[in-house]
C-alpha cells in the first residue's frame, strides 16, 4: 500500500498538471481515504472473495498518460466536456471505497460519454481499451457516462491485452441516467492470465430510465467486478446480467448491489459461471429494498456450472427488504455437467469433448440471448465458442495490434 502513497507524493504535481480541476479537486481526500483504510481485507463485507492486498502488491509501473487516439462520437476528454457534465465526476462513485480512492488519486484523465437530451445514438459507442507494453503496468482508468433526459445509447467497453506483460487495471465507471433514458452497457474482458482487473461501476438511475448491463468475463487472470445501481427515480428498471468462463487458475468475483430507493422500480439480475480446472468464482449480490420502495419487483439468479471437482464457486445472493408490498425472489445453484445429456449427445455421434463444449456454451447462452444488440449477440456466440475451444486469440477483430 505504501508504494502507492509514495508514488503519489512523488508525482502529485505531474498528475495535477496533466489533469483538470474537477479531477484534481478530489485527490487529497482520496489520498486520505486510501491512507487511512489501506486495501480492504477479506473481512470487509464486499471484499470477502477478493485478494486485494496480493493483487496490488507487485511492483507495477503506473501509467499516467492522458487519453489518446481518436475518440468515438459522443465521447470527450473530461476537459472538453460541458461543465455541467464535468461536475458529476466523482459524485456517483463510492468515495469511501479504497479501490475507488486509489483510482481517484492516480487517474489523470476521464473519458466522458455524453448523450444529449432526446438523442438516440444509432451505432453502438465502442470504447476499446488495449493493454500494451513490455513493462508490468498498472492502469487507472476512469469513465463517466451521462445520459441526458430521454437519451438512448449502446455502449461497449472492452478490455484486451496486446502484450504478455503483467497488467493491473483499476477502472471506475460512473453512470448518470436522466429520466426516460435508455442505456445498454456491455463490458467485455478478454485479457490473459497475467492480468488483474478491478472494475467498479456506479450507476444512478432517474425516473423511468432503463439500464441493461451485461458483464462478460471471457478470459482473464484475476478479476473483480463491482456493480452498484441506485434506482432513484420511480419507474426505473435495471437488468444486470453477467457471464463468466474461467479455467486454469483464473479467479472471477462479481459483487453487485441493486438499491431500490423509491417505489415502482424493477430489477432483474442473472449471472452465470462456467468454471473448469481449478478456477474460482464468486458472486455476491445484494438487492436492497428501502423503506417506502413499495411495488418493487426484483429477481436475482446466480447459476453455476462446475465442470471439475477442483473448480470452486462461492455464491451469496442477498435480499434485504424494508418495504412490505414488494415481489422479490433470489436464488442460486451450483451444478455439475449433466451426464444424461452428455451420453445422449455421444449416442448421436458427438464425441465427448465436443459434447462437453456444447453443454458449457449452452449453459451461458441464456445470458447472451438476453443481449438486445443482435450484432453483438452473434459475435459473442462465436467468441464463446472459440474461448471454449481454446482458440480465443487475443485482439481478434481489433486493428490496433495488427
Amino acid at each position: 500500500m505504501n508504494q502507492y502513497i509514495d508514488f503519489y507524493s512523488e508525482v502529485r504535481d505531474t498528475i495535477a498538471a496533466r489533469s483538470c480541476a474537477e479531477m484534481n479537486a478530489g485527490r487529497e481526500a482520496a489520498l486520505q481515504t486510501f491512507s487511512a483504510q489501506g486495501f480492504p481485507s477479506p473481512k470487509a463485507e464486499r471484499y470477502r472473495y477478493a485478494k486485494v492486498e496480493a493483487d496490488f502488491s507487485p511492483n507495477y509501473g503506473i501509467a499516467l498518460t492522458p487519453l489518446g487516439g481518436q475518440l468515438p462520437p459522443y465521447c470527450f476528454r473530461i476537459a472538453d466536456a460541458e461543465p455541467r457534465v464535468r461536475v458529476l465526476y466523482n459524485n456517483v462513485a463510492d468515495t469511501t471505497d479504497s479501490i475507488v480512492a486509489l483510482n481517484t488519486m492516480l487517474c489523470v484523465d476521464t473519458l466522458v460519454v455524453h448523450v444529449p437530451r432526446g438523442v438516440r445514438v444509432e451505432h453502438p459507442i465502442q470504447i476499446s481499451n488495449l493493454l500494451k507494453g513490455e513493462q508490468d503496468t498498472m492502469v487507472c482508468r476512469r469513465i463517466l457516462i451521462v445520459m441526458d433526459k430521454l437519451a438512448e445509447a449502446d455502449v461497449i467497453i472492452t478490455e484486451r491485452a496486446a502484450s504478455q506483460s503483467r497488467f493491473l487495471t483499476n477502472q471506475v465507471v460512473e453512470v448518470v441516467m436522466g429520466s426516460g433514458s435508455h442505456l445498454s452497457l456491455y463490458e467485455i474482458e478478454e485479457t490473459h492470465l497475467l492480468c488483474t482487473r478491478y472494475n467498479s461501476v456506479f450507476v444512478q438511475q432517474g425516473r423511468d430510465s432503463h439500464l441493461h448491463h451485461t458483464s462478460l468475463t471471457l478470459f482473464n487472470g484475476h478479476t473483480r467486478n463491482r456493480l452498484d445501481v441506485r434506482l432513484q427515480g420511480e419507474g426505473s428498471e435495471v437488468t444486470a446480467n453477467g457471464c463468466v468462463i474461467a479455467d486454469k487458475m483464473q479467479r472471477v468475483d462479481n459483487n453487485t448491489l441493486i438499491d431500490h430507493q423509491v417505489p415502482h422500480c424493477q430489477s432483474n439480475e442473472l449471472y452465470k459461471y462456467v468454471l473448469d480446472d481449478s478456477a474460482v468464482g464468486a458472486f455476491a449480490g445484494k438487492v436492497l429494498v428501502r423503506e417506502g420502495a413499495q411495488k418493487t419487483v426484483s429477481q436475482e439468479t446466480n447459476a453455476n456450472l462446475c465442470v471439475t471437482r477442483s473448480a470452486r464457486m462461492y455464491t451469496q445472493p442477498m435480499l434485504e427488504i424494508y418495504a412490505d408490498d414488494v415481489k422479490c425472489s433470489h436464488g442460486s445453484t451450483v451444478g455439475q455437467m449433466d451426464e444424461a445429456a452428455l451420453f445422449y449427445m455421444r449416442q448421436r455421434g458427438i464425441d465427448e469433448k465436443e459434447a462437453r463444449l456444447l453443454l458449457k456454451a449452452a449453459f451461458i447462452t441464456e445470458v447472451i440471448e438476453n443481449i438486445p444488440l443482435e450484432s453483438l449477440r452473434d459475435r459473442l456466440h462465436v467468441l464463446v465458442d472459440k474461448r471454449l475451444r481454446g482458440e480465443l486469440s487475443k485482439c481478434e477483430g481489433c486493428k490496433l495490434c495488427k
Binding site: 451420453f343 455421444r346 458427438i350 456444447l358
Partner: protein, 251 residues
C-alpha cells in the same frame, strides 16, 4: 445373409448388481427383433449396454458388430458405426439448438466416414425433408433439444434424428410408452417409411400394439436377465392374451 450384431453370453451389471445374466442374440441384416418382458427384466439394460452407456459394466461375454469388437468402441464410435438408440426418456438439453445438435452429430459421422462437413444449405434442406416424415413442426426443430417438447413430440424427435442419421441398427426402447394412438401411428409409420431393406431393428416393448405396425420377424422374451423364449410374431399375440406367467412357469 450377414450377421450384423452378435451377442454372446453377455453378463452386465450396474452398481455391482448383475442385471444381464447371459444374453445370446443375433440380429441379421434387415431383420426386426422384438424383445418383450416385464419391468426390471433387463430390456433397457441390454439396449444401454449395446450403445455403451458408461454406467453399465460388462462382466462377461462379447458383442460383435460387423465383425468388430463392439465393446471396445466408445459410444460415439458405435453411433458412427450405425447404431442408434431411440431413448425411452429423451433428454432435454436447454441451450443447445436442435439445428446445432443435429449438425454436430451428422458432421461427426461424416468425419468418421472420411467425408467433408455437409454444406449448410444441403443440411437445412435435409432437416426439412426428414422432419416432414414424422410430421415434426418446424417450430420444434428451431428450439433447444427436446426442451418443452410433449412426450409424443420427444418420441417423434427421436425418429426424426434416426431419419437424419440413417443408422444400420435402430433400437427402439419403449418408444410406445406415453404415446397416444395417433402419435404411436405417426412414429411407427415414420419408422417404417425410413427403413431400408438392409437396416435392422430391435424393438423393446411391453405391448403388441407397436409390433402390429412394425411387424417383427422374431420375438424374444426376456426374463430375469436371460432370453427364455424366442419365436415368430405369433408369440406377441400369445403374450397379449396370456401374459408372461406361463413362460416363466416353463409351460
Amino acid at each position: 445373409m450377414r450377421f450384423m450384431l452378435q451377442i454372446n453370453n453377455l453378463h452386465a451389471c450396474i452398481n455391482g448388481k448383475e442385471i444381464l445374466k447371459g444374453i445370446n442374440l443375433t440380429v441379421n441384416d434387415g431383420e426386426v427383433h422384438a424383445i418383450m418382458g416385464l419391468n426390471g427384466a433387463g430390456k433397457s439394460t441390454l439396449s444401454n449396454v449395446i450403445v455403451g452407456h458408461p454406467a453399465y459394466e460388462v462382466t462377461e461375454g462379447s458383442i460383435t458388430w460387423d465383425g468388430k469388437d463392439l465393446l471396445s468402441l466408445k459410444p460415439e464410435e458405435r453411433a458412427h458405426e450405425g447404431i442408434f438408440l431411440s431413448f425411452q426418456q429423451p433428454v432435454e438439453i436447454p441451450g443447445v439448438s436442435m439445428v446445432n445438435f443435429m449438425r454436430a452429430a451428422l458432421n461427426a459421422k461424416r468425419k468418421y466416414q472420411g467425408l467433408e462437413p455437409m454444406p449448410a444449405g444441403d443440411f437445412l434442406k435435409l432437416m426439412r425433408q426428414k422432419r416432414s416424415i414424422v410430421e415434426l413442426d418446424s417450430k420444434l426443430t428451431s428450439r433447444s433439444v427436446n426442451e418443452g417438447f410433449s412426450g409424443g413430440e420427444k418420441k417423434r424427435n427421436e425418429i426424426f434424428q434416426m431419419a437424419m442419421l440413417e443408422p444400420k441398427l435402430t433400437i427402439l426402447d419403449e418408444t410406445d410408452s406415453g404415446l397416444d394412438v395417433d402419435a404411436l401411428r405417426i412414429v411407427a409409420e415414420g419408422f417404417n417409411k425410413l427403413r431400408r431393406p438392409e437396416s435392422s431393428a430391435i424393438v423393446i416393448t411391453h405391448y403388441k400394439r407397436l409390433l402390429d405396425y412394425l411387424k417383427p420377424d422374431i420375438v424374444h422374451v426376456l426374463i430375469d436377465g436371460r432370453i427364455v423364449k424366442t419365436a415368430g410374431p405369433e408369440l406377441a399375440t400369445e403374450i397379449e392374451n396370456r401374459g408372461f406367467d406361463w413362460i416363466r412357469n416353463g409351460q
